[in-house]
């Protein structure tokens, strides 16, 4: 395979334009779909970043919706013949995602991104979480625990690969409702060991993925780990609470309604613990539990 040298992740800013990118692949994946775009202009994204996407044709279709672009985390990326291949995992839950699910190879998509911040390494996260730094042994490699739920497993696929490239020991816990909501499992996590949980018990642990996390955090070797999670809000609340209680640093990739993705609309407000709001698009989408006001703070 022709391996173009890719721009260093995070080294370049997104181009200041909305551009058309061609769909190179689209396939069904466990009730969801995975589609790939070829971006000839943008830099390689960092894990956790997202793109604003709208199809070139039939976006404002019958009834005038979808109207706004949709924010999608990038699930994987790699070199393409000319540019960067971007893979997205998608579930049709409304007019915008339904239309993106219909994409066929050769169609084009308006793209703005990569946008937002990205996940830290375990070492960076330990440094942020305990600035004094005394307790953490810097010489000991910090492990990562990735916790994904449903469609939220997407950004963890790229994160897992980045950690593998940096020799960060990584364990992956993924949960899903049932077979029809298990998209991306086999496509994005085929080559690595994953512990599964399913609500209906048909695969892996019968229950929540947070139960797997709680057991792992109770183990002996979790002390130097950092946790990275993306999934439905109740799952993220639970992961944040478990990690905070265990003194384990964590980062959560959140989701919010978003019109623009670059700080213009102020629609994606996330409450801060001391009052006021963050803009998830420019202050996130990756946040630590201590940056977010939750029921636990109240």
């Amino acid at each position: 395979m022709d391996r173009h040298p890719l721009p260093r992740p995070g080294a370049a800013r997104p181009p200041f334009n909305r551009r058309l990118c061609e769909v190179s692949e689209s396939r069904a994946s466990g009730g969801y779909r995975v589609f790939s775009l070829v971006d000839r202009e943008g830099p390689e994204p960092r894990a956790g970043q997202f793109y604003m996407l709208a199809t070139e044709r039939h976006w404002e279709q019958g009834g005038g919706r979808p109207f706004l672009p949709r924010a999608l985390s990038v699930a994987e990326c790699g070199p393409a013949a000319s540019g960067v291949r971007l893979d997205f995992l998608i579930e049709g839950i409304g007019p915008g995602t339904d239309r993106l699910c219909e994409l066929q190879p050769g169609e084009r998509v308006w793209v703005n991104g990569p946008l937002g911040n990205s996940f830290s390494t375990p070492r960076e996260l330990h440094r942020i979480s305990s600035p004094a730094g005394g307790e953490h042994d810097a010489a000991r490699p910090s492990g990562a625990i990735l916790v994904g739920g449903g469609i939220g497993i997407a950004p963890l696929a790229l994160l897992r690969r980045r950690f593998a490239e940096r020799n960060v020991p990584t364990r992956v816990l993924l949960g899903f409702r049932d077979e029809a909501h298990s998209g991306g499992l086999d496509d994005l996590f085929a080559c690595c060991e994953v512990r599964l949980a399913s609500d209906d018990g048909h695969r892996g642990h019968h229950g929540y993925v947070t139960e797997l996390l709680a057991a792992m955090l109770a183990g002996d070797d979790a002390g130097s780990a950092a946790v990275y999670a993306c999934g439905p809000p109740p799952m993220l609340d639970a992961v944040g609470a478990l990690c905070t209680a265990a003194g384990i640093p964590s980062e959560l990739a959140l989701e919010s309604p978003m019109a623009c993705g670059y700080g213009a609309c102020f629609g994606c407000a996330v409450p801060k613990p001391g009052g006021g709001y963050l803009r998830l698009c420019v202050d996130g989408p990756v946040l630590r539990p201590d940056q977010i006001a939750t029921a636990a703070h109240a």
Binding site: P14, G64, R65, P66, F266, G267
Partner: protein
């Protein structure tokens, strides 16, 4: 070359207040934003006397060919704006218009004079879509309140004053005439149209505040009608806005009587929309398809 109350502009397309955060956009896109700045003048988000955090989510809701927002004017307040934001906005390559709002004439006066004395500020836009705490009336819905506000501010601000008109009145031309008589240098319209949408999943309004302001192409015919009515009633220049998303929409607004146009919601979908609209408009005018608008935009 078009101008705004004597301030020369490179093209007739500016931004609608609150729809483009140049500081956040520069953080995202870097100096490419300055090299290819989409607007010929920049209008800030509305500044209030004291800091505001904004409204609780959910703040935005997609609607047919548009969206509803209820953001709640988050801003750093006058002091924070002058100290932190103004130096950054002064680095933009275009004239700066600062939008201000207050709940009584004394506070409005403090804002207008505080902003007007800064040489970085080219003009002031008065957001009058707020209640006067003493009368309980929305200033911009009352010709007498609007005239009284202008008479109070006019001597304090030796810079162009632009009054942003609300469309949520029976006769916007009456308010425009009052603004002109009070000493306004220009009017801009339309602000968003009061609207609501019900979330089918809950049966409740999609916006936490219950209603908000509708924008996007859905409101353009309302804007065109109101610009026509105001143009027939006043002789001061009009900045026309409401759902402009391409050159044809800008041309329509010029034909209705606007001297300049502003792009708002379209910037959410395309960060470079201002530049694109200006370029499409120039092509239309050059090709002679501009009709009678050619004379008015000159």
């Amino acid at each position: 070359m078009p101008d705004l109350c004597g301030i020369e502009l490179a093209h007739p397309v500016i931004n609608a207040s609150g729809t483009f955060d140049a500081i956040a956009a520069r953080r995202t896109y870097g100096d490419a934003l300055l090299e290819d700045f989409p607007f010929s003048a920049f209008v800030s988000k509305t500044i209030t006397p004291e800091p505001r955090g904004g409204n609780e989510p959910q703040r935005i809701w997609e609607t047919p060919a548009g969206m509803i927002n209820s953001i709640g004017l988050p801003n750093k307040g006058l002091e924070g704006f002058l100290a932190e934001d103004l130096p950054q906005l002064a680095e933009l390559p275009v004239p700066l218009v600062v939008s201000v709002m207050a709940t009584d004439r004394e506070l409005f006066a403090r804002l207008a004079s505080g902003v007007a004395e800064r040489e970085e500020v080219a003009a002031i836009e008065l957001n009058v879509s707020c209640p006067n705490v003493h009368s309980g009336l929305i200033v911009g819905e009352q010709p007498s309140e609007t005239a009284a506000l202008l008479e109070a501010l006019r001597p304090l601000a030796p810079k162009p004053l632009i009054v942003k008109l609300t469309p949520n009145v029976a006769n916007p031309a009456e308010v425009a005439v009052a603004a002109e008589e009070g000493g306004a240098d220009a009017v801009s319209l339309i602000n968003t149209v009061k609207g609501s949408a019900i979330d089918p999943a809950t049966g409740e309004p999609g916006i936490a505040a219950g209603h908000g302001g509708l924008s996007g192409p859905a409101v353009r015919p309302i804007a065109v009608a109101q610009v026509r009515a105001v143009a027939a009633a006043v002789s001061i220049p009009i900045v026309g806005m409401g759902g402009i998303c391409d050159g044809a929409g800008a041309l329509e607004m010029l034909a209705a009587g606007a001297k300049l146009v502003a792009v708002g919601t379209e910037s959410f979908r395309d960060p470079g929309a201002g530049k694109r609209v200006a370029s499409e408009l120039a092509d239309l005018l050059e090709s002679g398809r501009g009709g009678t608008a050619i004379g008015r935009s000159a």
